[in-house]
Amino acid sequence: MIENFKISLKEIDKINLINQEDKNYRIENLEFFNKKGFPTKKEEDWKFSDLREIFSKNFKKIDINDAYPEENNFRLIQEFDHNYILLINGRLIRSDFKFEDKNKIKITGYKEENFLREKSNNPLICLNNALSNEGYNLVVEKDYKFEKVLVIYNLFNEDLSEKILNNKNKIIVNKNSELHTIEYTINRSKNKFFNNTYENVILYENAKFKNICIQAGRSEGYFHKFLNGSIKSDSKYSSFIFSSGLKFNKQDIQIDLEGKNSDCEIKSALFLNKEDHQEIKTIVNHLVPNCKSFQKIKSVLDSNAKGVYQGKIFVKDIAQKTNAYQLSKALLISENSEFDSKPELEIYADDVKCSHGSTSGNVDENSVHYLMTRGLTKKEATQLLINGFLKEIISEIKSDTIKKFVENKLEFQVYGY
């Protein structure tokens, strides 16, 4: 089976390379991937999501995507004013920062030199290292706060079928700056494809970065994203994940709190059905004292869906006064749904407050009964409860217009079930 998913070294020749060293690095990585293949549940990080099995079931072969067509019928979000950048199949097509001071923002397409040549044991990262040649690079200069939100339209076109896309993105927010983005994924492909993204986020002193990740609608796409964040002192990273609607999605987030008083928040509300399989994996590394981190993952699982949360809090011995909290809650509303979690603590400092909680179960019967005595049908009652369960996360978005926008998307999913 693995044979079907081997990728020829010739693919590397197609990439416009800068030098031989880069090429060797890519070859090394591709060879590693070809040797390992897609990860299986035997690997600890993939224990609950056997990607090889999923691929064997759903894909016959997999080819490298090389088509980046022009966009057509592309409509901007009308609900609120925003800046945007448009990606088609991962390639940066255009950008518009009409609400901002353009001198303070730098945006370019993928550049080899933006990334360190790091070694990885994760076959998917190696695959990405070997083949990525699209993506974007965004830099916010120091002392600049964005006026309006930046929407990253991530569009996948109709022709993708059994293709694999590898992208690398980088976001740098310099000192005292602030950036707020919405990653808006639009899928036009009716066929299966695999998007493999590597993202690097660096926040310098006293910077703020807020990201919301949301889907336009259901998709046949399989997604894997590895995000590596490095957070310096007094800066704050916050991420909302609303990626409902994807066939397969794994967000692998690793945040290093490198500066004092830094803060990291990861929140997610997911509604999964129709054999969706989504996994959120977070590792928050507390490397210095006085940092805070908070993760809150809420999932609702309907027909044959599988949700996974693997979260790890690591506290280094010098990272005293750490405050870390992690919570995952899941509602299983269909007999065949499954939720697996592995909330992990690895702590080497004593003066810390670290805790986690994880629950899974059905909708509270008493609450359903209460609502039914008030005239709701069982289905309506359940929908109302699910909606309330997930809205808790959305209510933490500050901007009202964006909150409304996200709510509508979610309600559409919940009431459509």
Partner: protein, 478 residues
């Protein structure tokens, strides 16, 4: 401060050895030493075949390496797999005939073998190294039809029971250390409680590692037949010694319809000295199967000793309405390492499990809770509650929690909670103010922290365990 004083005073209380000539198997792990063990034990052929089957399987297995505590490579060819006190070949008929040196050792350990026999109300199957020497209270148990003897005796006297249940919970092929045990196990206890019998007393075995360079491979098998109840105590102390010693025991529990087994352990083996030299490797496989409807298995453990503790007492909840419980205190100090937890595998309907784990880490120790809660597709209306709390003393130690939670049906509920913190300064201050010194205050607070687990222990153990909690942590705060 006065810490150094306390350290010298409170070093391993049970550190002493007894000189008794040993009969040993040839050194090394091979078919010959297995045949030797089997011969010494006067085992029937089927047992030898079973051992050899395990040995063949072992050749293809690798030692697991996923655990947190790492240890130097064990040279399995350099160990003796059998050693017995010499006097065992002509077993004494009464206590008077027992080697007086052994009796002396037991006295130091506080085992009530002679005059305390009646007073204590505990039947003791004492294992000195690998051979059972004397089993008390046999008559009373026999009257009720209870079988409580060494596993070797059970193999000879009750082969039908042993054949039926041995390896049925921990199969031959399970994992490296369990398979190793299956091949070379030397002794251990066997308990069978007949239907509708409530065992009138707590059954207890003291294990004692003595002969240098001998790993102990015990095998315990407890079967509670329909509607029966048994409470079993396991306690360990070991003499002070320099080289590392391997201990890989297997414990199998089987509870049939409406039966209940309560298994309590206080483990206080030699943990190595203050610099982490020496100490026992405690790699134990403990597993219980709730085979019958309404059956219950409860594990309680207080782990304070051993250089490395690596065990996960588990429950397989097969029968409908069966219950699994796990209460654990793991205390690590100096360079000790513990990687312990449980597995609750829910297969039957309406199964319930509860996990309470308290980890305390001091010095340069590492303490890990690792557990699995797996609720199968057919385990409708199942319920699990897990609570893992860790207490850290100082910033050179580590406390880790690695739970795996799988829920595969919508009618079941799983809850998991974990916290990590240090001893509250205000609480310490309050205790100091009331006249307790630092050590006493810590002991008091930690005992409070562990209360939920200590309450589960039978009377005989509760007192000893409370003292142990205090002793294990002395010298860690100040």
């Amino acid at each position: 401060m006065k810490n150094s004083n306390i350290n010298t005073n409170q070093e391993y209380k049970y550190g002493f050895t007894t000189d008794i000539e040993n009969v040993r198997a040839p050194k090394g792990l091979n078919e010959n030493s297995i045949k030797f063990i089997s011969k010494m034990k006067k085992e029937p052929k089927w047992m030898l075949d079973w051992r050899l089957k395990a040995f063949n399987r072992l050749k293809n297995l690798k030692e697991p390496n996923w655990q947190k505590p790492k240890y130097p490579k064990i040279n399995y060819q350099d160990l003796y797999y059998y050693s017995a006190p010499k006097s065992a070949s002509n077993k004494p008929k009464s206590l008077d005939e027992v080697d007086p040196k052994l009796i002396e050792t037991y006295k130091k350990l506080g085992i009530p073998l002679q005059e305390q026999k009646r007073l204590s109300g505990v039947a003791v199957d004492a294992v000195f190294d690998s051979v059972s020497v004397a089993t008390t209270y046999k008559e009373e148990l026999t009257k009720k039809g209870i079988i409580f003897c060494s596993i070797s005796e059970a193999i000879r006297e009750h082969p039908e029971l042993v054949k039926k249940y041995l390896g049925s919970v921990i199969p031959l092929t399970d994992h490296y250390f369990a398979t190793l045990n299956s091949a070379v196990f030397t002794d251990g206890s066997f308990v069978y409680i007949p239907p509708k019998v409530k065992c009138p007393m707590e059954l207890s075995t003291y294990f004692r590692i003595n002969a240098s360079e001998t790993g102990q491979f015990e095998r315990t098998l407890i079967i509670a037949d329909k509607g029966s109840y048994v409470s079993y105590l396991e306690g360990c102390t070991a003499p002070m010694r320099d080289e590392n010693q391997l201990h890989a025991a297997n414990v199998e529990l089987v509870a049939l319809d409406d039966a209940e087994i309560k298994y309590s352990t206080v483990q206080n083996w030699y943990p190595g000295d203050k610099d982490g030299i020496g100490g026992i490797y405690n790699f134990v496989t403990k597993r219980g199967a709730c085979r019958g409807r309404n059956s219950k298995i409860s594990w309680t453990q207080v782990e304070t000793g051993s250089a490395i503790t690596w065990k996960y007492p588990s429950c397989i909840l097969q029968g409908d309405n069966s219950v699994g419980e796990f209460y654990s205190i793991a205390i690590t100090n100096n360079h000790q390492k513990a990687d312990t937890g449980t597995k609750m595998i829910h297969l039957g309907k309406n199964t319930k499990s509860k996990i309470i784990s308290k980890g305390i880490s001091a010095g340069q120790a590492d303490n890990t809770y690792r557990g699995l809660v797996d609720i199968g597709k057919k385990a409708l209306n199942s319920r699990n509650y897990t609570q893992c709390d860790s207490l850290l003393m100082g910033n050179k130690c580590g406390a880790h929690t690695v739970p795996y939670i799988k829920n595969k049906n919508s009618t079941s509920t799983v809850e998991h909670e974990a916290t990590t913190s240090k001893i509250n300064d205000e609480q310490l201050y309050y205790c100091n103010q009331r006249g307790l010194n630092q050590e006493e205050a810590v002991s008091l607070i930690v005992n409070g922290f562990c209360k939920e687990v200590l309450q589960q222990l039978p009377m005989e153990f509760a007192v000893e365990a409370q003292k142990l909690v205090g002793i294990s942590l002395e010298g860690s705060v100040g």
